[in-house]
Symmetry: C2
């Protein structure tokens, strides 16, 4: 295993879409949402354990999740980067990159979300190793792009240049444009054109290339973290970050860096990826029984029920009759029943509940 390989797993998100399972006290990445016995974070960590030494894997998160992460992953405090306040992906990556640079200036780093699903982990492993190798040998900012299967309007898209590819792995192509969540018509034309990929939000680069890009495109963010040079990996790091972090702009890595840089490449692949951003996309990735029901829970009985997602706590007895295309979910004593087609209303339900009850439920 290459001791210069590092991983940064971003695990700071909250998320109301999978309410009631996902709440501030326990966001999606910490839940066994696929019913596998492992949280999405644990699955992500396992994937990266095969790519770099365990002690080179860092988790960037909000400080409120520190104990939960130690519990789920059994890693020491020094591998948990705690943001005192939410500031989107760019500050988080700048911080992690500075910390890694101070340990190992020759590092090659993969940055990835903690709450996505990857179905074909062998292919993912192969893809990442190739991208890590390319990023070690070239001053490139590499992203992973997924060959789209349908005109999803919830994803960002990456357009690549068909004529500029990496000789050592011609799946790696030069990026032309980034597009945020498009309208349906545009998404359809992206699919037709054939040179657009879904942006999986996974980045691979050398720590040096990353640092250089920040200096160029987000110099004020870079300077804030540069000032802490002597504190990284010392007992003073936390105090420095707690003071510095709130001064940072709230900006994403895509918007702040990737869309401006000229040395961006994308490795196009199809390892069965989803950001599990909606119940619908979760349903796609859950095992289904002969009635096309996806059931997480060991004590659920269904009758005349089809195409329904049921998510019950361990041991909970539920008898469900006569539902088609529904979500039935319970967690921490909160029950949700909702048509799958109305899942976008769940955020509103949560807001209503909070207004009505004067209490935080997310």
């Amino acid at each position: 295993m290459n001791s210069n390989y590092y991983a940064v797993i971003m695990a700071g998100g909250v998320g109301a879409r999978f309410w009631p399972m996902s709440r501030t006290s326990q966001p999606k990445q910490f839940i066994d949402i696929l019913g596998t016995g492992e949280s999405l974070l644990q699955q992500t960590f396992k994937r990266f354990e095969k790519i770099c030494p365990k002690e080179n894997i860092f988790i960037a998160t909000n400080s409120i999740y520190r104990e939960l992460i130690k519990e789920q992953l059994g890693i020491p405090d020094n591998q948990i980067l705690c943001e005192p306040i939410r500031r989107n992906t760019a500050p988080c990556i700048a911080y992690a990159n500075h910390k890694i640079m101070s340990k190992n200036p020759d590092a090659t780093v993969i940055v990835a979300p903690s709450d996505h699903v990857i179905v074909n982990s062998d292919l993912f492993h192969d893809v990442v190793l190739s991208a890590m190798d390319a990023a070690t040998k070239n001053e490139w900012l590499i992203t992973l792009g997924i060959r789209p299967s349908h005109p999803n309007t919830g994803y960002g898209y990456i357009q690549y240049d068909e004529n500029v590819m990496y000789a050592a792995d011609n799946r790696i192509k030069k990026v032309k444009t980034f597009t945020e969540k498009p309208e349906l018509e545009m998404a359809k034309s992206f699919l037709t054109s054939g040179d657009f990929l879904w942006n999986a939000g996974i980045f691979i680069w050398s720590a040096k290339s990353c640092a250089k890009a920040f200096r160029q495109f987000l110099p004020e963010v870079d300077e804030l973290f540069e000032e802490g040079k002597r504190f990284y990996n010392t007992p003073e790091e936390t105090a420095f970050i707690n003071e510095t972090y709130p001064k940072c702009r709230n900006i994403s890595i895509d918007y702040g860096v990737m869309e401006h840089a000229k040395n961006v490449y994308v490795l196009s692949s199809d390892f069965g990826w989803s950001d599990l951003g909606t119940w619908g996309s979760l349903y796609e990735h859950l095992p289904k029984n002969k009635h096309q029901n996806s059931i997480v829970g060991d004590n659920v009985m269904t009758y005349d029920t089809q195409n329904t997602i049921i998510h019950m706590p361990k041991g909970k007895l539920a008898v469900i009759q006569g539902l088609e295309d529904y979500i039935v979910a319970e967690d921490s004593g909160i029950l949700l029943i909702c048509k799958k087609s109305e899942e976008q209303k769940i955020r509103q339900f949560v807001t209503d509940v909070e207004v009505e009850k004067g209490e935080k439920f997310v």
Copy 2:
């Protein structure tokens, strides 16, 4: 208040129909199924407190419910008649009547189930007092009959003789026939004929008339309890009953006595009665909001949901979207979702659950 007036409330039933709320450990009569803050038993007891002295009200039940009853009603052990084993209504009534006779041979007694709903309690009070008076002055076995509103096939029917009525209250008429749950066509013809009433299972008689009827029609049951004469209302009563009760036939008062006796009268009335035998009949009696939802539970929010019964434990947060004509009920951590039209399947679900899990859930 007439100190010769006594009441026997039958509260020994189990009941799977309102599962998961109603289970052996907590049958329907002990539940606040109407969301009023009182169980059906408590409501029944309250109605009889206005008719006879509190100490003259006896609860006939299974011994496993003794503590629950003391808790709900705050009455002493001597007013709780504990059957060691289930033997239907005739043995229960024979026991209660012997016990009351040994206290007061001039007693007039009303016998009633504990788990019915009575909407118009003023009219009920008036009806019962009139029947008690008639039963005191006449050697009659009086039942309460409800003027039927629809051809219900779940109820027993009583046909009366239009020409033979009590001068002091011409709502009291002589009974011609008893009919158990009829087929739909027969139930329809009963309604058309106009001289059929629903059998509410409420009986009023003098203790002496009741004793006489048992001696005549169920002599072997009567003799068993006659033998215990010296034990009633003594510390030996329980031991005697525990030994005697299992020897009794399992037979209902209707089948064993009422269908044979010639001195049966019915008081026809309409005080808004239901045996709450089904979710459908419960729904009729629950308050409904503007969407025709009946909601028991203080933390339930509904969207696009109509004609649905929701029964949630106190404090339980439930967000329910997109249901029409459903039952959603939770109790003791067991969740049931079922179309109202399929409520007759609930018994089967419970059986399936027990077979599947090898565990008693009812």
